[in-house]
Symmetry: C2
């Protein structure tokens, strides 16, 4: 299996992307990577590393799509960009099963939409990040931004796609699916979720447990959270922002707390490090674009080597579980 990597997408490209790719190779067998981007620079970065040369390929691409470019224009016009070239390799090489990019989310989504074949029956692919829960497990949020406006039937597809990925990548045979709403009662919701509710209830093959509030996303009581992309994006970003706010307020209170507080902080430093590590969902991988015939992973823009390595291994796990090819819709 080959995993294609956009070596020039993201704030810390190409150094951290290359480092992360090599880290993944050390952590797991069974696949090789294709680094796409400026060949000379990549070769220079590789020259100072030790790695199995048989497992690393390079494909040259001189240009880079940046966050400020219009995604659709960039994808259509910049065929020699690292991202578009990477999609091209994904499609043309029969061994290529997955692609990773930490570049512009818009460009990755557009590229995937225009260039990667969808599974039969899938209306639109959905972006699914995986978040840690307080019970030590994970929850998959589908959709978190690929589809701002959805039809009820799409939410059912999100439920099926999310469930399939969770089943394939964990021991969980019956992932609990919750529909993100503004209350837990069956009658709650907006027009979209009220129409989707009975469809989800009627769907065999998924374990739909009902409406849920955003307060419960990280509770560990749900394995898949279904939402339209706009609502999902709000939920995800609100979680991120609150975690950051919490840490900022904590820091301010420590600084204002005098010697005792600072001493306590020093003693608790390992704990804070552990909390940060636990809550940083980018440490577990990227967001998987569900519903395509190949695995597309969008890593966080600010990803460093650790997140990239996690994304590569995540892509390997999802691809080898055959999620993309075996999903019945």
């Amino acid at each position: 299996m080959k995993i294609v990597i956009d070596a020039y997408g993201g704030d810390n490209a190409p150094q951290e992307i290359v480092k992360g790719a090599l880290q993944a190779l050390k952590e797991k067998e069974g696949f090789s990577v294709v680094l796409v981007g400026k060949r000379e620079e990549i070769e220079a970065l590789l020259s100072s590393e030790t790695y199995d040369a048989e497992r690393v390929g390079i494909v040259d691409a001189l240009r880079v799509i940046t966050n400020d470019m219009s995604p659709t224009e960039a994808v259509r016009k910049m065929k020699d960009s690292s991202l578009v070239k990477a999609f091209s390799v994904l499609n043309s090489d029969p061994d290529a099963q997955a692609i990773i990019s930490a570049g512009s989310t818009g460009a990755v989504l557009t590229g995937a939409t225009l260039l990667v074949k969808r599974l039969e029956g899938v209306t639109r692919a959905a972006l699914a990040p995986v978040l840690p829960t307080v019970k030590g497990g994970f929850v998959t949020l589908v959709d978190c931004g690929a589809n701002s406006d959805c039809k009820p039937a799409q939410l059912v597809q999100f439920a099926r796609l999310g469930s399939a990925m969770v089943k394939a990548t964990s021991g969980n045979r019956s992932p609990r699916v919750g529909l993100l709403s503004n209350g837990t009662e069956d009658k709650k919701g907006n027009e979209l979720t009220k129409e989707a509710f009975p469809l989800l209830k009627a769907e065999t093959g998924i374990n739909f447990v009902g409406n849920m509030e955003a307060r419960e996303i990280l509770s560990g009581d749900y394995d898949v959270v279904v939402a339209d992309g706009f609502s999902g994006n709000i939920a995800l970003k609100a979680c991120e922002g609150t975690a950051l706010a919490f840490m900022t307020i904590l820091k301010n209170c420590i600084l204002a707390g005098g010697l005792r507080a600072k001493l306590g902080y020093l003693l608790m430093k390992p704990v804070f490090k552990e909390v940060k590590k636990t809550m940083d969902y980018n440490g577990y991988g990227g967001a998987v674009l569900l519903g395509l015939t190949k695995v597309v992973v969008k890593s966080h823009g600010s990803s460093k080597a650790k997140s990239i390595a996690a994304s590569v291994i995540q892509a390997y796990t999802v691809a080898s579980a055959g999620v993309s090819t075996s999903l019945e819709l």
Copy 2:
């Protein structure tokens, strides 16, 4: 000015409601309270307290609307419930300017919708909680649940109502209004926000600063966050859930951290208490229902005396600023 209080709404009623009302009287002059509920029980609670009897009235109401009742049915049929009776006092007593309840949100919203006159031009009232920001200020989120499906023009009303309340209750003459979206670029959003954007931009009298992501709600860069009620509710509940998750994970890491971590925790206890107090938005008051001719404050269901006292003072502040009566729409 009289502030009417539903003494039997909420998990800790009537004890904490009565205590909170008396606390508010101690903290501020200029108003009196009317406690609505079972007269005998309220009198018994008051008998063990010291307070200015001139500032406390009681109106008898024998029944209580609970969370499991259908709000519309309860409000229509239970005229002798503490909540409906409180609305009745609010409407019949010319000195009554505001009502507080910690009861069922559905019932409070329904009661307000059916029983309190809207300001001219207001389509639907909106529920606006006030959250603390990392810069030590506050942000008002409009709407967080009264209107699950909105039209673009309603979002503009939310912006105006929120701005008016912030202007009236703080020194801020030009509250920065952000439109909750899935990106900051002008073109981002779903169908609703894309239609609302130009309307907000064209609206004189508000300081519309553009689209914003949910990650920035608590940043202190916005004073009013505008969203349809479904999205606003998701944002609010996601913030709550993440703060709770953070504290749970922190606690788990401390317990697993051994002696050093526990010692550090003991030293940092005052800091954690301060953080919790800062982030607990219920400590600042309740959610104000904007767009009505009287002030309606929905306190959190689990409110204790401190939150109730804060809600009463908040209601007093909003009412004396004349927000309800002077808003031009």
